[in-house]
């Protein structure tokens, strides 16, 4: 029943109108780029300066050969990342007191028998002190985490320590911009379709434009389809723009694969449907706008768009799991940063289910004409 001709006709008129509207264009394409420039600048400046971190090495040996002093190798590797400037604290100091004496929140403790445990393959923890509200702490824990992974890998396949450490350094330095790009792509996938559809679906109802369209052969499915297609286009354009800025301005490492396509198609469809539902279920444009914002803002900040959800306390992390955008952003990260396709597959499945539910609900509840 859906006529591609009519969908295209509606798409053409809507697209023309959209491109003529500078506000929409700004929020759809320019604003995410501005965000990436701002956040990218903040994060990359945080990375370019070396961060001072205090390290207490409690693993004092003795070691049969220097090669077996893994603790020292680990500290050297930390130092050579270029990210951290390691300051050693005496092994007998009260470390908490020591940090506070140096007005620092960032510290690392390498426990006693670290090297021995490592060699034996027994699990051992490095303690990282930090202040979760500061990006510096995230850099420290990220760096330690990265290095620990590298050392763990090395433990099992025996690659050279230095080589591994170098690899880790590269990934680590660009990690924040790399992470920022999927997050902001998720942000733009959310913002434009959601706010536009909330606004037009409630406005068209008020101005009776829907009634008028109902007097033509255009069906509401065709109308909805044309909006979804438009926002898929817009998200793709926004995606390319952001990736270009990320790569050329900040030297981000972005993996472009076909795995991105499901997210760029399902995402706009999901949030267009959600916006449509809000506009349909509310009485007037003002109420619709408020409800739209109440739904959008928590999702915008708590889905891992601007900072990783690992920064958030446990209860917020649990809350994040009910936000549809969380799965979009997690999926984009899985594809673009971690190349973790098993994770991406789960996210695609979750996003597909939510999208289908919302789209069907929007198409069913949305009415051209009133009783």
């Amino acid at each position: 029943m859906v006529s591609a001709k009519r969908v295209m006709a509606d798409l053409r008129v809507y697209g023309h109108g959209y491109l003529r509207n500078r506000v929409g264009l700004f929020f759809g394409l320019i604003f995410p780029v501005i965000l990436i420039l701002i956040f990218g600048a903040i994060f990359s400046s945080g990375n370019s300066g070396t961060l001072t971190v205090y390290v207490q090495n409690q693993d004092t040996g003795p070691f049969p050969t220097p090669l077996m002093d893994i603790a020292t190798q680990f500290i050297d590797a930390l130092n050579s990342t270029g990210t951290l400037n390691v300051q050693l604290a005496g092994a007998s100091e009260n470390f908490t007191q020591y940090l506070s004496d140096h007005s620092s929140a960032d510290g690392i403790i390498i426990p006693a028998n670290f090297s021995a445990n490592y060699m034996a393959g027994t699990s051992v923890n490095i303690t990282v002190y930090g202040n979760p509200s500061q990006t510096s702490s995230a850099v420290v824990s990220g760096t330690v985490n990265g290095l620990a992974n590298a050392f763990n890998l090395r433990r099992f396949n025996g690659s050279a320590v230095i080589g591994l450490a170098q690899t880790t350094v590269n990934t680590q330095q660009t990690k924040y911009v790399d992470f920022l790009i999927p997050g902001l792509i998720g942000f733009s996938i959310l913002i434009s379709p959601m706010f536009s559809l909330v606004s037009i679906s409630s406005e068209y109802k008020k101005t009776k434009l829907f009634k008028q369209l109902s007097l033509t052969p255009l069906t509401k499915m065709e109308w909805l389809a044309s909006k979804v297609i438009w926002y898929i286009f817009l998200s793709m354009a926004s995606f390319l723009l952001m990736v270009a800025v990320g790569v050329f301005v900040f030297g981000a490492h972005v993996t472009l694969t076909v795995w991105l396509i499901p997210f760029l198609i399902l995402g706009p469809m999901l949030f267009a449907s959600m916006g449509m539902l809000v506009g349909t279920l509310t009485k007037n444009p003002d109420t619709a706008a408020v409800i739209g914002q109440v739904i959008t803002f928590p999702m915008m900040f708590l889905s891992g768009t601007f900072f990783p959800i690992s920064f958030m306390p446990e209860y917020l992390r649990i809350f994040a799991h009910v936000l549809p955008l969380y799965y979009v952003v997690e999926g984009l990260n899985a594809v673009m940063v971690y190349a973790n396709y098993a994770q991406a597959l789960i996210d695609i499945a979750v996003v597909t289910v939510i999208t289908v539910i919302l789209f069907v609900a929007a198409a069913k509840l949305f009415k051209w004409r009133e009783d």
Partner: protein, 321 residues
């Protein structure tokens, strides 16, 4: 086939009976006006006929179709301008016509249509910057795209200045001369008289009168009467010396109802006999305005627009002559 047939149509919103049992039919090529003050139920009724609203009761056949059940099919065959026509703000009239043409799957020349509605000069202007009259003309233009035989025009000139109104009338008269069937709602009396063959006067969800202007006047008007400018004393003299129904308005106007032409002679003879002074004499019959004011107890303001009188005081002193 009779294009429009409705009977006993009802529609309520909560306790308010917007349309309360309306019946009429409209013939092919006829222009039919629903005339009434705001809130009379005109828009609800026309939207029921267009298939935009569901009726509570009654039968409606538009081009042989039930507009609510077969709306999708019906809409290909009718042209509609809803009240306060609006469109995508960032689209031009030309784009709008092309858009409608694709939706309806018809081939039209947008310039032809724009010429027909006298909008060719604004073909490339964004809808948001068009004037009220131009917007309304664009609505007319879009209703022409699928070349319908039947048009519904809901208050096509409300809020327009006199020039814009006349321009819209010109377009509607053009449709009329092509033999199209048109139903329009209006709260302008002159619009109903200028454009329509038949009028239904609506008030509080009912039709209070229906027919051609002459039919309505004949049925609901007071008939022919003689008006004489003279004193109360003269009025009393005529009343005492004839069988006629004589009224005095207290301000020097005597009105005598004429059941037959010959009554005028009797009245004038009595006037002459009285030896009292008298001024202008004329015979008069109710105009559609007079009937309308009487039927809906409305006031026609200086723009020719009807508003409903509040309270029960005699509103006739405020009516337009």
């Amino acid at each position: 086939m009779i294009p429009v047939e409705i009977s006993s149509v009802k529609k309520s919103y909560g306790d308010i009976k917007a349309v309360n049992g309306v019946s009429f039919s409209v013939n092919e090529g006829e222009v039919f006006a629903l005339l009434g003050p705001n809130g009379a139920g005109k828009t609800t009724l026309i939207e029921i006929m267009e298939g935009l609203r569901k009726r509570d009761a009654g039968a409606v056949k538009i081009l042989g179709l039930d507009p609510w059940e077969n709306g999708y099919e019906l809409h290909r065959k009718i042209g509609v301008i809803p009240q306060d026509f609006t469109f995508f703000e960032k689209a031009t009239p030309k784009e709008a016509i092309k858009y409608y043409a694709t939706l309806f799957g018809v081939k039209v020349d947008p310039d032809d249509i724009l010429r027909e509605v006298l909008l060719e000069d604004s073909a490339g202007v964004l809808f948001e910057t068009l004037s009220g009259g131009q917007k309304q003309k664009m609505g007319l233009a879009l209703s022409l795209v699928n070349s319908p035989e039947l048009y519904f025009l809901d208050e096509p000139t409300t809020g327009l200045d006199p020039n814009a109104r006349r321009a819209v009338w010109e377009v509607i008269n053009g449709l009329k001369s092509k033999g199209k069937t048109i139903i329009l709602t209006t709260h302008y009396l002159d619009e109903a008289q200028q454009l329509s063959d038949r009028v239904a006067i609506m008030n509080h969800g009912h039709t209070v009168a229906m027919g051609t202007s002459d039919e309505i006047i004949a049925e609901h008007g007071s008939g022919e009467r003689l008006e004489i400018h003279g004193s109360e004393k003269l009025a009393a003299y005529v009343k005492a010396n004839t069988e006629l129904k004589v009224e005095y308005d207290g301000k020097g106007l005597i009105t005598i109802a004429l059941r037959e032409k010959i009554d005028a002679l009797a009245a004038l003879a009595a006037v002459e006999q009285s030896g009292l002074d008298w001024g202008d004499i004329q015979t008069r019959r109710d105009s559609l305005d007079d009937v309308f004011v009487k039927l809906v107890r409305g006031i026609i303001d200086e723009h020719g627009e009807i508003t409903v009188a509040h309270g029960s005081n005699n509103s006739s002193s405020q009516r337009r002559r």
